[in-house]
């Protein structure tokens, strides 16, 4: 689509990842003269780091969904819930808007995030030129939405903190909660280490043309 873009990189410049200051490219590791952040042409080892974090997150995704995230002990009866069975309970209780919300935040978003980031890493590794604008959008979406998966962790936190009524009722966080929290944290890091500029890199040189922001 766009092969004639004038990028900072083509002029031998780098923009600081943190404060955006444009600098002349130097040798070796360097720091931004304005904010002091380490500055690179592109995020270092972006694909390898994102890929590794995604693999770790995918592995943890299994215990996160199979182990109970919390267990309710009420009058001597103990009931353990996984994420999915929690959604089913909400559905049976007739609270389908909440069930939908938890389903989207805890099941749909993490899966989509793993798939989308995995796809982006592969597409960049294969130097795909397919719809870079849409891939950029996809990345921004995943980056913005990923944090919301933490909702379930906070639900468990609050329930476990609140329901401490001894024999009457006690709620405890299960091992699945830790695994799920780790999945969310790892995928957030994975999005953080992915450099979206790679989507646009290496698509041939044409004639220079600056751009005007719209």
């Amino acid at each position: 689509m766009v092969s004639n873009a004038l990028t900072a990189d083509r002029l031998g410049l780098m923009a600081c990842h943190v404060c955006g200051l444009l600098c002349r490219r130097g040798e070796g590791a360097a720091r931004c003269p304005r904010c002091g952040a380490s500055i690179h042409r592109r995020l270092p080892d972006s694909l390898a780091r994102t890929g590794a974090l995604l693999i770790a997150a995918t592995l943890l995704y299994l215990p996160a969904n199979m182990l109970p995230v919390m267990s309710v002990t009420s009058l001597g009866r103990e009931q353990a819930d996984t994420i999915l069975s929690g959604v089913v309970h909400l559905l049976h209780g007739g609270m389908w808007p909440l069930a939908l919300l938890v389903f989207v935040a805890s099941i749909l978003v993490p899966v989509l995030k793993l798939l989308v980031l995995g796809y982006l890493v592969l597409s960049v590794a294969r130097r795909s030129a397919w719809r870079p604008r849409d891939r950029s959008r996809l990345f921004r979406l995943v980056e913005a939405v990923g944090r919301w998966s933490m909702v379930d962790i906070f639900v468990v936190t609050l329930l476990a903190a609140l329901v401490q009524l001894g024999d009457l009722a006690t709620i405890q966080a299960g091992p699945g909660a830790t695994a799920f929290g780790a999945v969310v944290v790892l995928t957030m890091f994975a999005a953080h280490t992915f450099d979206p500029r790679l989507i646009w890199d290496e698509r041939g040189a044409g004639h220079d043309s600056g751009g005007d922001p719209r």
Partner: protein
């Protein structure tokens, strides 16, 4: 920093140029009408915005946020009533429950996302903005503080916690009676004020001011 061998030199008139953070497309900065934003023509990312409100408004929001933060942390958040037993919970007692049970990963997650990073953001912004408001020189280490804020902001999850609290309260509905405490209202206020402050503050403007004063 300027004398270290690896320090880079910014481009001439660095204020006038910027690269899209998502695709590296180079742009000359154009002044925007108040309330408008500049969007990258290539990848669609937002480049910068022009905010209607000034520093004093943002600062006022941060200071109110700090006050609300104190209330939200130490006043009772929710009270649970079942069979004549009433139990009050604060944010800290929730963390305490996790620590007692050895779930230190969950305790850490809650501590970081609901207490440390939100506080860091509010206190840091107040520290950086106050000298601008008084027309003084930039605060010592302002660049470092603002860089920390940049790194911490995706991990500050107050609004997600609120959604989680909603789900938790509904889930408890058939089990016990839940009453919101003062901290619950403070939390809602804190989230509104924090989101507003984030909306009002344009990081690129702050960076330019830090640069020009420092």
């Amino acid at each position: 920093m300027a004398s270290s061998p690896n320090s880079l030199s910014p481009v001439d008139a660095a204020d006038e140029w910027l690269a899209c953070p998502q695709c590296d497309q180079l742009y000359r900065r154009v002044p925007l009408a108040s309330g408008k934003k500049a969007v990258c023509v290539r990848c669609g990312a937002v480049l910068y915005r022009c905010r209607k409100r000034g520093v004093e408004f943002a600062l006022a929001l941060c200071v109110s946020g700090l006050i609300l933060f104190g209330v939200a942390n130490f006043a009772p958040l929710l009270a649970l009533e079942k069979g004549g037993l009433i139990q009050e919970t604060t944010l800290w007692s929730g963390i305490g429950v996790f620590l007692v049970r050895g779930e230190w990963l969950l305790a850490l997650l809650v501590l970081v996302t609901l207490i440390l990073f939100p506080l860091l953001r509010l206190a840091g912004l107040t520290y950086v903005l106050y000298p601008f408001f008084r027309g003084r020189a930039t605060a010592a280490g302002a660049a470092r503080v603002f860089r920390l804020i940049h790194a911490a902001s995706p991990w500050s999850m107050l609004e997600i916690f609120l959604l989680g609290a909603l789900v938790a309260v509904v889930k408890l509905g058939d089990m016990a009676t839940v009453m919101p405490g003062i901290a619950a209202y403070a939390f809602v206020g804190l989230i509104l004020v924090s989101a507003w402050a984030e909306y009002v503050i344009e990081p690129r403007d702050i960076w330019r001011r830090i640069d020009n004063h420092g």
